[in-house]
């Protein structure tokens, strides 16, 4: 008898766990659902939309840069901070990578390392401005945003740096196919996302990211060196900026000093659509990826429907409102207090 009871109990527990899982994950399930619905809608309107060329070359490829930026900035936003500099920092890193690779005649791997390191440095500078000078994140990164924009123009002498022809294989960073049919840029995005998700959920820095965003004062009194961790977290975000810059140059075959401004807001929008709270303490990487995909699918689909770009902007705005409002309604239904 006891065996039977145990079996029933474990089943009940399993059921509870499943429903608890459903409850916890419902935000992301809904976001994923909307993504699928939007996708199906465009496919019905224009079947070519669902072709693999369009999906991989059009949608996924165009998500790579914003997606990588959004992954990095998810960490920052979960701490309750914000990073406005990631857009122009992408341009600056791209220029620096282009110049260094050309000047020192570097290969693909060293070039990528330069990008990631320089990106990380920009993040560390943001972190230091916030923790040492005690500037609010919004102000600190607004300042670096402007400074990076200027520096990109100065270093490049306002001219694009072309380097595809000279650096063998640079274009394959994003456009090659390590795995058949999947562009490397897309591979980088998904591997980057998986690594980020592991860092966020399974490691100490991820844990402190949530802790700081939940209650910075209490975290400090628990003996956590909040300032050091914040520098590390902004630095981590910067690594993804560096990777985004490398992918961007590879896709374009050049580094352009004027490209990047505005990327930060698209990345932040992806994070928000993905259900991460601007108040800090809550968020997921998978949500961010779904958010970035929703934006890319919309842009691509509306373009295929030959809707003018102006309207694409308007619709993106509406989607942000719907996504965040829907999430609020769901939370209220679930009895969560904010």
């Amino acid at each position: 008898m006891s065996e039977a009871v145990k079996a029933v109990e474990s089943e009940v527990e399993g059921g509870n766990r499943l429903s608890a899982f459903a409850k916890r994950e419902i935000g992301r399930v809904l976001a994923l659902g909307s993504l699928v619905v939007i996708f199906i809608f465009f496919t019905i309107m224009r079947p070519v939309f669902a072709s693999w060329e369009n999906v991989s070359g059009g949608i996924l490829m165009s998500t790579t840069v914003i997606g990588l930026l959004a992954i990095g900035t998810t960490f920052v936003i979960i701490t309750g901070g914000i990073d406005l500099s990631i857009g122009t920092a992408t341009a600056l890193v791209a220029i620096i990578v282009g110049k260094t690779v050309m000047a020192l005649d570097l290969g693909v791997v060293s070039g990528m390392i330069v990008g990631v390191v320089v990106g990380g440095l920009v993040g560390v500078i943001n972190g230091l401005l916030i923790t040492v000078l005690k500037l609010p994140p919004f102000i600190a990164t607004l300042a670096t945003m402007k400074a990076a924009q200027g520096l990109a123009l100065i270093v490049s002498d306002m001219k694009p740096v072309l380097f595809t022809t000279d650096v063998k294989g640079w274009d394959s960073i994003a456009q090659g196919n390590l795995i058949p049919k999947i562009p490397n840029g897309v591979l980088i995005l998904f591997v980057g996302a998986i690594i980020a998700a592991i860092i966020l959920n399974k490691t100490v820095i991820g844990r402190y990211t949530f802790a700081i965003g939940s209650n910075e004062a209490a975290t400090k009194l628990s003996g956590v060196k909040v300032n050091n961790w914040l520098v590390a977290i902004y630095g981590l975000g910067g690594l993804y900026v560096g990777m985004a810059a490398v992918v961007l140059t590879s896709r374009l075959g050049s580094a352009r000093p004027d490209l990047g401004l505005g990327y930060e807001l698209e990345a932040i929008a992806a994070v928000i659509i993905g259900g991460t709270s601007l108040l800090g303490g809550k968020g997921t990487i998978s949500g961010t990826i779904i958010g970035a995909l929703i934006m890319a699918v919309l842009v691509n689909g509306l373009r295929i429907l030959e809707l003018q770009q102006e309207w694409q902007y308007v619709i993106t705005g509406i989607v942000i409102v719907i996504a965040v409002w829907g999430d609020n309604v769901r939370r209220r239904r679930a009895g969560e207090t904010s």
Binding site: K202, N215, G223
Partner: protein, 501 residues
């Protein structure tokens, strides 16, 4: 005087995911009556009051107010009906002034109805404060007030609605005896004006002073309603916890070790602290007594590096250590439990496990920085059991726990960190008698295991019951250290007021 019923609740039930917070509870209130609700932490007192004030929706039950069935669907609805509530946790806007806080949402405007009339607002606040005999400046920024003063602002705000029913959820938990007296005076005035007051408190000795009836609830169930003059504290306690609890026992004099764990020499800070020195021995509970504002919390914060010191040395086992920030203190094995757990102790939007292991992350991770969640889970379940934290699981969000259980989570955090020196700042604030008793036993046990404990408390019976030695502070200075066997309330009060008047 014939009693007129103002309010009655019957058959009220409320379930949260995994928690039956209230089950078929009833409660009623007459005009001109103070009716207490008592029960252990998590018994459902605050939940019942939140239902009455429109914050939570009841699952079942009926509310009759002034003879009519009502459905209190929102806080605004409650306000309109004339029901106002002072919440257990303060709900003020720290950057606004006292007057702005009191009249938030009901601001006076100038003739054109566009601009705010601050002068009128301040005048109205001044009149209200005078009426309640509260010494507060309407123009002062609330965030600059002590917690006790902020509590007074909450009380003034609740009264300002001029409702018929005022609910007070643990209004005295951060008040000194004289401030409590001031509150009682206000309550008596309200009573004389025919209003009904619902009074929730864990300080049972207050009940006989101020209440007419007492309703006991336990585990979300209605137990009994008693008439205050016909009952006694022990009866109330046994109804609350379902067993007997010893109160006010002094510890048997434990043999004190001579080993000095912590030596503090001449600590001063920018504002208040002047040249504070003391020793803390192994296995000792050193109580810190004093009036509000004596500098006990400031001393603790300076000690752990949360606030800067201007002078002073700290020795751990005879070696001088530098503590510049809280992480140095934690590394040296000094844990601090803040008196304001919501602000400085807890991550409310995270679950119990997250909070409990927060100080010990390094021991729950490997050298590559990966967290080891499995051992964390079982350790947290153990400590939940050890402290009897009332929760469906270790994954419950801390914001969903009752106030007392939240406090236990903070204690659990430092127990898990295994600190050698523990500084408890008001460890039993807002904690019920049963749990208080458990926490006292726990502190004694920790001390006998060799931990050195500093316990800051404003409750003299608690200080006398728990401490081996008692350090008394007044206006930032240490005025004396007394052995428990030589101490009594008078002597402590003498030291605590040494520099006053």
């Amino acid at each position: 005087m014939a009693t007129t019923q103002l309010l009655s609740l019957t058959g009220v039930s409320k379930e949260f995911p995994g928690v039956k917070a209230l089950n078929n509870v009833r409660f009623d209130l007459n005009e001109g009556e103070v009716h207490a609700i008592v029960g252990e932490n998590g018994a459902g007192k605050s939940t019942l009051m939140k239902i009455l004030s429109g914050i939570y929706k009841k699952d079942t039950g009926d509310i009759v107010y002034k003879g009519n069935h009502v459905n209190v669907s929102s806080p605004l609805e409650a306000q309109k009906l004339g029901i106002s509530i002072i919440h257990q946790e303060l709900n003020l806007m720290p950057d606004l002034t006292v007057a702005q806080n009191i009249f938030i949402g009901r601001e006076d405007r100038r003739k054109g109805r566009v601009f705010l009339d601050n002068a009128k607002l301040n005048k109205a606040a001044k009149e209200l404060l005078d009426e309640l005999e509260l010494v507060l400046d309407p123009k002062q920024i609330v965030g600059e007030l002590t917690i006790a003063k902020q509590q007074m602002v909450e009380i003034a705000k609740a009264v300002s609605y001029r409702g018929q029913v005022i609910i007070m959820d643990e209004p005295t938990s951060s008040l000194t005896p004289s401030e409590t007296e001031a509150l009682f005076k206000i309550i008596r005035t309200l009573k004389a004006a025919g209003k009904g007051v619902v009074y929730i408190s864990h300080r049972l000795e207050e009940l006989s002073k101020i209440t007419d009836r007492i309703t006991v609830i336990r585990d979300g169930e209605y137990v009994k309603t008693l008439t205050t003059t016909e009952t006694s504290i022990p009866e109330v306690i046994s109804l609350m916890v379902g067993r007997k609890v010893d109160q006010d026992q002094r510890p048997e004099a434990r043999p004190l070790s001579n080993e000095i764990v912590l030596k503090v020499e001449g600590i001063s800070d920018l504002n208040l602290l002047r040249d504070v020195s003391f020793d803390l021995r192994k296995g000792e509970i050193l109580g810190f007594a004093g009036l509000m504002g004596a500098g006990r919390t400031e001393l603790a914060r300076a000690l752990i590096g949360a606030d800067p010191k201007t002078a002073g040395k700290i020795f751990l086992h005879g070696n001088e250590i530098k503590i510049k920030n809280p992480s140095d203190a934690v590394k040296a094995g000094i844990g601090y439990l803040s008196e304001d757990r919501k602000k400085y102790g807890l991550l409310l939007i995270q679950n119990i496990t997250f909070n409990v292991i927060l100080s010990s992350i390094p021991s729950f991770s490997n050298k590559f920085g990966f967290l080891k969640t499995k051992p964390a889970g079982s350790i947290v379940r153990d400590v939940i059991k050890k402290l009897s934290i009332r929760t469906p699981s270790e994954n419950q969000y801390v914001k969903n726990l009752s106030g007392g259980n939240q406090q236990k989570v903070v204690i659990a955090k430092w127990l898990t960190r295994d600190c050698e020196i523990l500084i408890f700042d008001e460890p039993t604030r807002g904690i019920d008698v049963g749990a208080k008793d458990e926490i006292y036993k726990l502190l004694t046990k920790l001390a006998s295991e060799g931990k050195a404990i500093i316990m800051i408390s404003s409750e003299l019976p608690e200080i006398l019951r728990m401490s081996d030695r008692i350090a008394v502070m007044c206006e930032g200075k240490l005025t004396g250290i007394i052995d428990n066997k030589d101490a009594d309330q008078n002597k402590i009060m003498q030291y605590a007021t040494k520099f006053r008047d």
